[in-house]
Amino acid sequence: MAKLKTVIKHEYLTIVKQPSFWIVMIAIPVLIAAIFGLSYFGNKSSEERINELAKDLKNISIIDKSGLISPDIVQASGLTLSPSDQVDELREDVRMGEKEGLIVYPDNLAEKRKFDIFLSSDDLTKMNTVGSLGSSILNTSVFLPLGSADIIALAQNGAESTVTTYRDGQETAGFNEYIVPGLFVIVFYIVFVFSVGYMLTSVSEEKENRSMEMVLTYVEPRNLIIGKLLAVILVTLTQVLFFAVLAGVAYLIALSLGNSLSLPFGIDLQKIVFDPETVFFSIGFLVVGFLMFAGFMTATAAIAPSTKEANSFSSVFFLGAFVPFYMIFMILTDPENPITKFITFFPLTSPVVNLLRNTVGNIGTLEAALSLAVMTLFMVLSIWIAVRAFSRGALEFSSSLKLSALFKK
């Protein structure tokens, strides 16, 4: 027990003392914030540029051959309609840079649904702005016969829907039900990408730096593996705690912003649902899935003679974890599909598939329990293989351990 504690402490501190561990942890939220920030300020800056350009649009001519454009709308835009026979002349002015642009609505506009724009430069923002102006004049002109400005706006922009859902006669929280189990999917990927890899690195580095034989003299292989596994779980908890604190802070900020914060999909932070059964299965799939992958990674590192080869072999497991995303539509909408059923129980895909299905609630209690049981079986198997591979392959420094050697007495 004392040695197990020593191994756990050593492995845990080795990981969390690395500056790269904290750099990556801090970099993720910083990067996300930076992306949102850049996107926000970028859009703001673009808007400002468009507004500036809009002021310069006075030097744009409009010709309507279709008869669909309202002169009042054109006038409201600060522009005037030019006679139809001036197309060539105005086009030449644009080419020579004497005019900023020309919009021509042809006589077959209703049939072909195409109109022409001529610009004096190939500035991307200007192309975009004049294009929007042309479309806007057309849309508003077409909707004008509807009458009031409100009805025109409604026809142009549509309306937002408020969805109320019921289950067994009771109103449900709709999309808000997906938030908590959905977070487990995100946590699984964070854990998978960062922590599971530590098992691979931890074992393969010991082989590569040749400290393995010295360590095995003083610790049982089983204790060493279990110690490493528990250390990685502690590392994972550290990461989850770190992100949970950040998420908590973000949640409090979001709550304090109240109605001024508009979240997508009708998410209402005050209506987030904690369903015990869903959370139980989410934790189960997360923990068992994590341990299963950690076991497979350890076995891979023990079998492979070097970190490089171990990394190559491990790509199979990464593939297993990411493949479900290529089938996400089927997983979320067609739970009875035989392929969905297969990947629900197939060990390498089962953690992600079950977490996703549990999120949208298209997996029944019995199927979830059965799938968790199968996953647990594979987890035990993966840890057994890991200990066995480690006992037999830990001192194979120059060649890979043969798979047949795993099952020999």
Binding site: K3, S211, T217
Partner: protein, 249 residues
């Protein structure tokens, strides 16, 4: 005669279809330097790994202090394997304390021992340095420190002076002498016969997993009618696979 620290009797090891060690018997007593010799692939490392429970013997007895070794007895053994290395991303003192704790010392005992050892071998200022920043020779001194931490009863050194300069080689041999004088038994594996002549009380020369010479240095020399261990070693490896094992257990 003192009770042997190491007792190997009728030890056989077969891996797959390959016979690695065949019917090997020897024992080692406290305060003795035992030179365990043989060419590459003769079965030395496999014997040591079997003695330390890393490999499972096919048959035979391999005892340390009267019983089969288990990591619970780690404090009594120090092992410097041929394939050796340290956690390169960790600090020197942290690595030594880790191994000390694995051998059953308290963190404080391990720290005190490590600091005293680093002082002695001139690496006191490197205690907080990462292992990867040390030179090869400095790393080797730390590896020896890891092996001798806790003053083991049995020290197994596999080519301990490989790559060391003469100054550090002398330092290492002095440390071995000192441990021996404290009563530790030393299994010394080397290809440098002058070290054998200087240090060893008894020798065993292994060829193809079998003992070809075994006894005190003087007795083996007398038996082979030779003045040097090196000549005996060469003659054994030059002889046509005769199955005659010399020496007495």
């Amino acid at each position: 005669m003192t009770k042997p620290i190491v007792q190997v009797k009728d030890f056989k090891l077969t891996i797959g279809s390959k016979k690695i060690v065949d019917n090997l018997s020897f024992d080692i007593h406290p305060g003795e330097v035992f030179a365990f010799l043989g060419a590459n692939g003769s079965g030395k490392t496999s014997t040591i790994r079997s003695l330390l429970g890393i490999y499972q013997p096919t048959s035979g007895i391999l005892h340390i202090n009267g019983r089969k070794y288990s990591p619970d007895d780690a404090r009594s053994v120090g092992y410097l394997p041929e394939e050796r290395g340290l956690y390169t991303r960790s600090k020197v003192l942290d690595v030594m304390i880790y191994f000390g704790e694995l051998k059953g010392l308290s963190a404080q005992e391990a720290r005190d021992f490590s600091l005293a050892y680093l002082e002695r071998v001139g690496l006191a200022d490197k205690a907080a340095t990462k292992v990867k920043k040390l030179s090869g020779g400095q790393q080797q001194k730390v590896q020896l420190g890891v092996a001798i931490i806790g003053d083991p009863d049995l020290l197994i050194l596999d080519e301990p002076t490989k790559g060391l300069d003469p100054v550090n080689r002398k330092l290492l041999l002095d440390i071995v002498d000192e441990l021996q004088s404290k009563g530790a038994a030393v299994i010394y594996i080397t290809h440098l016969m002058e070290e054998v002549e200087r240090l060893a009380d008894r020798i065993l020369i292994l060829k193809d997993g079998k003992a070809r010479a075994y006894g005190t240095v003087a007795a083996v020399k007398k038996e082979f009618k030779s003045k040097s261990i090196e000549d005996i070693f060469v003659s054994i490896y030059n002889e046509k696979s005769s199955e005659v094992a010399h020496g007495k257990a």
